[in-house]
Amino acid sequence: MKFGVLRFPGSCDEVDALEAARRVGDAELIWHRDRDLRGVDAVVVPGGFSFGDYLRAGAIASFSPAMESVIEFARDGGLVLGICNGFQVLCEAQLLPGALLPNTNLRFIFRQVHLELVRRDTAFTCAAPPDTPLSIPAKHAWGRYHAGPGELSTMEANGQIVLRYAPGENFNGSAGDVAGVRNEQGNVFGLMPHPEHAVEELMGGSTDGLLIFESMRMAVEGARA
């Protein structure tokens, strides 16, 4: 099982994601100009400020050569995880529905948040224990999830809402408390909180983020078996 973690100029959390992925499998960085995904089994589009968030968060990165390959990889059913800026990139690339807008208070906010796992039967959450809220940090200025009213109810009907902020935790003003969504096919998942920053007891006390990476490993290895 090998993860590929994209690296754009301005990526900040790519090494954290790389190290988190390495707790469950192999992982390597993929430079944004590289079209060759080198046979990875899953792709992580990491957090940060790719291309300085110029134009719009994630907009420029979504046109990079590596992303062209990732779009193709996703169309072929490959697993793609977008974290924070990576979620923004996946929305800009139209691999995921909706958009991320500036937080309602217009400030960057870093906070440990509680999350409700809406679905435990996805390729990204299948390793989650039942009925426990997750504790994972979030940190962003543009994290307010937005989808048209009709679009949001369609997504709910399709089971595309995977993660919600627990009551009182939705600091950015996301529609429907949405913290993470997947595409219709179920192989692309984006979330604003940072699972790669909740993998080590020593750093903040929660290891709940590890289950996202562990789920992806299980999904890939299950499909292979």
Binding site: P9, C12, D13, E19, G48, F108, I109, F110, K139
Partner: protein, 733 residues
Amino acid sequence: MPDSATLPTLQDALALGLTEHEYELVCGHQGGPPNQVELAMYSLLWSEHCAYKHSRKLLRTLPTEGEHVVMGPGENAGAVDVGGGLVCAFKVESHNHPSAVEPFQGAATGVGGILRDIFAVGARPIAVLDSLRFGEPSGERSRYLLDGAVAGIGHYGNSIGVPTVGGEVYFEGPYEQNCLVNAMALGLAERGRLVRSAAAGPGNVVVLFGASTGRDGIGGASVLASAELDAGGEDKRPTVQVGDPFEEKKLLECSLELLDRGVVVSLQDLGAAGLTSSASEMASKGEVGIDIDVGLVPLRESDMEPYEIMVSESQERMLCVVEPGNVAEVLGVCERWEVSGTAIGTVTEGDRMRILRDGEVVGDMPVRALVNECPLYDLSPERPSAPLYPPPAPAPAAAGEPGAVLLALLASPNIASRRPLFEQYDAIVQSRTVRRPEEADAAVLALPDGAALAVSIDCNGRRVAADPYRGTLAAVLECAANLACTGALPLGTTNNLNFGNPEKPHIAWQLTEAVRALGEGCRALRAPIVGGNVSLYNEGRAGPIYPTPVIGMVGRLPDARAAGRLGFAEAGHRIALAGPFAPSLAASELAKLRGEPLPDGLPGFDLDALVAVIGAVATAVREGALASAHDLAEGGLAVALAECCIAGGHGARVVVDPGGVLETALFGECSGCFVVSGEAAALDELGDSVPLTNLGSVGGEELAIDPAGGDEIVLALADLQAAHGGGLARFFP
């Protein structure tokens, strides 16, 4: 300035901040009046900001050597050995005047500048801390400056992927017109990979890389940073630089890759005074000359004069010296990171700094005169005979019975939770942060070998104003006490001396006394000074700022897993007060809230005894003997107990012997005292080596303080949390 064809006059030199005597010295070094380029360069390098001409003699008295010091003052940042083959480079710098004029960009470029200092020595930046001072937050302008500065720090640090892990902020009237924005950064490097800035090897090529050069920040160091702020600060907006963290992120990765490949001889960032200071300092340290052709410098505006190119403070630029055979590889690495790189000059034999434009010499100066021969001035310190500062405005809530006073203190701007500020910073990127803000008295960062760094930044300017010597010692001790609460012992210290106009005898006295205390404190703690910065002329229309020698201290603990916390951990644990408890309300937070004038002097203490207590607490924490440790600071014992309850989510029941006056025992302040909790046996053992008083035990949903006979003070945990949490939050709707 006249046009380039006309020689500038004495009047032009005076306008640039040189004195008549200094201008005459320049004429002597040049063998006649300097031309426009030369005068511009001398005026910057001989400014207070670059030449430290009123502080250098004092700074020479500071301790700079010790067993852990790898690189002392004089380089872009100092460095200490942290074990495991690694060194930690760190430094604090100020960006006060730019932030007073334009808070967002002023603070953002302050962070950008200190980060460049760190990677210029070859270290990867791993953390930022900030130290801020504003007028009272009830004032609209203070809130505007605070809001802008915090957003600017967050914007730069968050975007570049370096966590902001700690800091401090105080609100006091004397900072109303002249806020302080100091930023500290830390970086890690392999011990053998530190790079110095001395240029070497005549014939080697000087390469400028990073952003292009524009007219922003012209005169920043001389006009803005080396004079008092006055009315019309808005006119100085063009002297404030504009930061681009994305450009710096690329510059950082590019610089570290160049060092990894071993293709640069030396490296230097462009900060205050731009190309002028970076090129001259590289030449001076290497005892060589440098030729720079300004015609080769990539420009944002094509019609810039040579002197403008030399003094521009455009951000996100670096200068390196490269052997001719490696130039192509260096430019290739720049290309990969989408950073512009250009060869703009050469290292020469001799001692001439020559500026050329398309082959024609437009400036020619002896390097030694430029960098080292600015006259240094003796201060004329004089202890003031009358108070320098008006008494603070009283806050009505600070009267009444002790429970109400405690809530008023917890909600006061200098004590209330900083969460609304630090929540705007990413504190965890790079996955090293073991203790986040408000979890412990110092930030704790894991090292690869299982050990950890602890870092703290502190200074209570009001106490320094009351007693520059003892107030500064208290700031140094406070930093060491913060480290001790996490289990760390100090490795080294950095400092930023923020003071008023040193040409005034009373400010000179404050500065002299503060530096004397800084030296004594660092010697006693074996925490030598490895670098720092001086910011003078911090005065507004209403007078000088409180003298503010900001101290940054880095320490190490052997096992990151043993890092201490400040919050009470478990019901039933015993609570004790460790250290020689000698509380005083002089210059305390309560005295401020009551509008009392500053006292003339603070009570004395036994420095060596306090250092011993701090060491014993650090040892007990790192051995895992204590469940919590928190040092007494603003608001004294009662506030410290409340903070331990709030952070841990536990109540407590304690008995406080009022000694003389109950209020003094509860809210009086002193150095070197700690509230600790843990198993009774562990506290007894600590009591064998330090003065220790048992106070009570952890538990329940309230803080109950029994003043040994008087009326018990009982406050619900929720009320403590509401007061502490709401004090600043109400200014950030």
